[in-house]
Symmetry: C2
């Protein structure tokens, strides 16, 4: 039986076991979705089996990665997309990665993205996540949050990453469609778009199309793409669009391009190749995460092994194997 | 009984089990040392127990890391140090890390560092090692090569790293004394010495002291150190020396400074702190290495797990745990 948390004065909300939340997540309960994502983010051992079960209900959503340098206008674009896509009847999920934030929970982004009406607020689920220390790659909890929304019937799901560090390049291993956002004023400063970013973009978007410099930026990006810097993993031509999130100008064009890319992935067979590649990366990143977790869990034992290694009574390999719970033979 | 490899026409050299090589390494046999380092570099499973045993005989050598940008004159400085230190009666070990070289074995560096006479050649052991793909940190085999030389009675042991990427910063976790080499002509271009490098240097050396720009470079580095960029882990003052490896000028001063730093480490109690820190890093890097090795060993199984994850019959965490030989509960 599924119990529901009650904010009763007399007692704190009941902790609902994660496996019991799964049917509620699949039925689209916003409370269950929020809780499940929090448990993924908090790396609750209790939620492991539930998240494994939820994963089996994924694979339906169109996952869109949006990246770009700070100030490019990602949040505004995401807000515009939420509005436009919910108006079309989509249930839109957003997972925003904020490497700098020590907070989790959706409050910050919830404020930032102003929900324009009740329908929109009800049709969209927006979650901001802090990325916790992990050895490169997107944090497993980020991808698990996407899983939860996918299993709950949200599509498209937008992953918004700050265009700093590894996250922006690794978004390609989590998304079906990567949108790279640039602000006008790029002009001659071709350096401003890094080579790695050019390669991962399925769609280039230049924000603030109302500004006079926007056309020059579009031309500069097209020029770089013509020089061979474009996407190498596709027969898709990486279109360059200028949009104004403020005036809503050309937002329909971006929506149509997103639909076209989704169709292109299916028709070309590229979807299967991406899924395969994304799953492979995800298994490896999860393995790395488990390794770090296992090593950290041995922290209490580390001191004793460390002293033995310092005294030359043990050696680093033996200590490492013991700490990882492996036998001597590795 | 220890068998010795013979280069007999009729048969290939006998493979001497690594554990049998250990007493020969401890006795200083150059052949045994060379073989043991090759087995560490080749990551032979058979050599694991022998390298663990060898580790227990380490901790005697003064380990000196020498780093600096390409062209700073590292090889020339190392050659001068070998000459000077062997003349003083030291058995000098050198492990040169060459991230770009696909070769291992000492041939390249053996040519590069011209041994000036038979005594010098006999008193020094020089080994160049390619660093193979690993997840950051100094390759375990590099540190195992240092172990072999340490156990065999070599001291000091010089680790020469190309001043590119992570190796140059991580040398601080492998060495007792870090020497950062700069070429004259640095002048105003303070950027040329990166902040991370300033912090790790126990001794700054400016090469080519015969050049007129050398004094300005010494002054520039001293200026940066005065601005607070100097070593933070020590009461040691990070001296700045100009040397000419060609004329031999001030080499005595460098040797004296190396001895002083060694004495400072012992007297200040910093030696114990460094050893502890170095061992901790080494255990973690070894654990990471073992993780990668374990994951790679599961490559044959990966395909089957990958397909199950793509089909949503399994999930990334379950697949990762199975590939790492861990149970479901992690």
């Amino acid at each position: 039986m599924t119990s529901v948390a009650r904010f009763d004065r007399a007692k704190r909300p009941t902790y609902v076991p994660s496996l019991e939340l799964v049917p509620e997540v699949l039925a689209g309960s916003r409370l269950a979705i929020a809780r499940m994502i929090s448990r993924a983010e908090g790396n609750y051992a209790e939620a492991t089996a539930a998240l494994a079960e939820i994963y089996k209900h994924t694979g339906k959503a169109h996952i869109i990665g949006i990246t770009g340098v700070p100030g490019a206008g990602k949040s505004t674009l995401v807000a515009s997309l939420i509005k436009a896509l919910t108006l079309e009847g989509h249930k839109v999920g957003v997972v925003a990665i904020d490497p700098s934030s020590p907070f989790s929970g959706g409050a910050i982004l919830g404020d930032r993205v102003r929900m324009n009406d009740a329908a929109e607020a009800n049709q969209a689920f927006v979650r901001s996540m802090a990325t916790r220390g992990h050895l490169g790659g997107l944090a497993p909890s980020t991808l698990q949050a996407v899983d939860v929304l996918d299993a709950a019937g949200y599509s498209p799901i937008i992953i918004e990453t700050v265009g700093v560090g590894q996250d922006e390049v690794e978004i390609v291993t989590a998304a079906h469609t990567v949108v790279v956002l640039s602000a006008p004023g790029l002009g001659d400063d071709i350096q401003a778009i890094k080579a790695g970013i050019l390669e991962i973009a399925d769609i280039h978007v230049v924000s603030k199309a109302d500004k006079p410099e926007a056309a020059a930026t579009v031309a500069a990006i097209k020029g770089m793409l013509a020089l061979g810097g474009g996407t190498t993993h596709s027969t898709w031509g990486s279109p360059v669009l200028a949009v104004s999130s403020v005036s809503g100008e050309h937002m329909e064009s971006l929506q149509a391009t997103l639909r076209n890319h989704w169709k292109h992935l299916q028709d070309s067979g590229e979807f299967a190749a991406r899924e395969r590649n994304n799953c492979r990366t995800r298994i490896f990143n999860m393995a790395r995460h488990l390794f770090q977790q296992q090593f950290d869990a041995g922290a209490n034992d580390l001191e004793q092994h460390l002293q033995a290694v310092v005294r030359r009574e043990s050696d680093p390999r033996t200590a490492a194997n013991v700490l990882l719970g492996w036998n001597q033979e590795r």
